[in-house]
Symmetry: C2
Subunit: 329 residues, 2 copies
């Protein structure tokens, strides 16, 4: 069985370029006893993949040069010698960035395509949704009437975090990087206020706000502005700092750090993979919210594995609204 895959050709310096990736064709072989073959239909590109391309040991080992990349994907079983899977089954795996994958079943999860579109396992009902859920609820701990600021609010995580905050009775402010995104989160998702950070610096946009919770996907000037606008005892959900991932050298970070002391701020970094204990609660709540139209989601598709690097680069440059996905089939 032939398959195409994307490999890391070089470690990116700053913003990744096409040359940092290479497309290769491989023979994935036939499934041995206990194995299955998956044809991926949709794969995910996510911001966390960028730091993994650096040669830095983090919570996961870095991607290796010359090796295929990896990430979330959904697809169908095309051959199975594994007792748990039959041909035609929809499955989620971490075997993205390739068209066909051979697997012994580790990290594979069966999906019910009648319960929800399989793509949602990569977004609102998957890792980004769980990230928003545990970050906002367990670290942000929003109370009714709180003011919650979400940066990257038109992204896969931010758009969900903001809507959960609305469900909890909060006033929600979002930042995003285009008028279209701002209109989407304000007019369709029900954010109370939204601004285009490319037009209005966060510090200016938050001038009259008093924040109880900041859900940080961006870092940098957004974090600085949120520290400045925070109420005493505010909680900062440190989910990501996408503004910093492509920065080659050091650069000034928040310059008002002493306010962390005087305002008694909590900043808590977290990684969703530590929080599998919350997956059941999340799945129960989010399935209901999506079904009832209380949480809405959007997907941006790029077609073809050969364009996966472009999708990823586009994600880092904010070209997606909602979840960025690559359609492979």
């Amino acid at each position: 069985m032939r398959s195409r895959e994307i490999r890391l050709a070089a470690r990116p310096t700053g913003t990744p370029t096409d040359g940092d990736f290479e497309l290769a064709e491989v023979d994935v072989g036939e499934p041995a006893d206990g194995e299955l073959l998956i044809r991926n239909e949709i794969m995910s590109v996510d911001p966390y993949m960028r730091p993994r391309m650096n040669d830095v040991r983090s919570y996961v080992p870095p991607f290796q040069i010359g090796e295929p990349l990896a990430g979330g994907a959904v697809g169908r079983v095309v051959a199975s010698r594994h007792p748990g899977y039959a041909e035609g089954d929809w499955v989620f795996s971490m075997l993205g960035w390739r068209e066909v994958a051979r697997s012994d079943g580790s990290g594979v999860r069966k999906l019910d395509p009648d319960a929800a579109p399989p793509s949602t396992a990569l977004g609102v009902l998957g890792m980004p949704g769980l990230t928003a859920y545990v970050g906002l609820l367990d670290i942000g701990r929003p109370e009714e009437g709180d003011t919650v600021f979400v940066s990257g609010a038109a992204g896969a995580v931010g758009s969900i975090a903001g809507q959960i905050a609305k469900l909890k009775g909060c006033r929600v402010i979002g930042s995003a990087g285009s008028p279209e995104k701002v209109a989407w989160i304000r007019d369709e998702l029900g954010f109370d206020a939204a601004f285009d950070y490319k037009e209005t610096p966060p510090r200016e946009a938050l001038r009259d706000e008093k924040l109880d919770v900041y859900f940080d996907n961006v870092g940098g000037d957004h974090l600085e502005a949120a520290i400045g606008a925070a109420k005493p005892f505010a909680r900062f959900v440190e989910c990501g700092m996408i503004s910093r991932y492509n920065v080659g050298g050091p650069e000034p970070a928040p310059r008002n750090m002493p306010l962390i002391v005087t305002k008694r701020l909590l900043l808590q970094g977290f990684i969703v993979s530590d929080r599998a204990d919350r997956a059941r609660d999340f799945f129960r709540d989010m399935t209901e919210w999506v079904r009832d139209g209380k949480v809405r989601y959007r997907e941006t598709y790029v077609d073809g594995i050969e364009n996966a690097p472009r999708a990823f680069i586009g994600l880092l440059q904010g070209e997606n609204i909602g979840k960025m996905l690559v359609r492979l089939a």
Copy 2:
């Protein structure tokens, strides 16, 4: 009754200078019914007073120009028409920066000079000691065998925080600003390692360390180095950022902020005055530790109220070992 007091003459720009303070002589009058007169023997200068000199509303209102400064002091009652106090009583009050104070008793606390030297109410058994205690134990939550890094470790708070960490079975590293301070914390207080940050940048000194807890009194490059050396899930006790208090304009803060996310760090700012609920536990434990020689303390004295501004400026420049105090009597 005549008294001399120190007033804020101007808001300091950067490092305070003599001209930012003025010495004034006033008549404090006689105590009315329900009042007492206190002659301060020792007053405290503390780092938190510097941000209070800026015109910024923080957790306490800023000091006002032309008004006497305020802060912790211990002294003796010289006249009393208050039922709770008699002439000769030793008392703690927040009426420092003046020789004699008239009071209706608010914020005044009687001291037992036989139980502990009155000066300790300004240091190891007072606000700095409680700060170290709640910061380290309640936020840092050190476990036996943890590695704890304390910056400003020869100061009133840091020296106590480090010793409590030793009592809890931790490996303790301290930074301080002179060879004499380094020798004191390492050879007399029992820190496992110590370095002079003026000789060795914190990043270099911590190169081979893996921190579970960082007790931050300094901010800036110390905070950046601690973020770099932190283990996953490390706790950062954000007690103060003295390196930043005299900085006029913005300046690069930690440049490795994304590690807060990937390492799942907790940064928690706190203010000791929120934690009066822990005063009883603190006083019980610390009294015992000091009595048994398990926690040691040191005081640096400057004489005369006219030299209180110099003592304060010296404190910000690290001229003290242990608690900086001004002897008034």
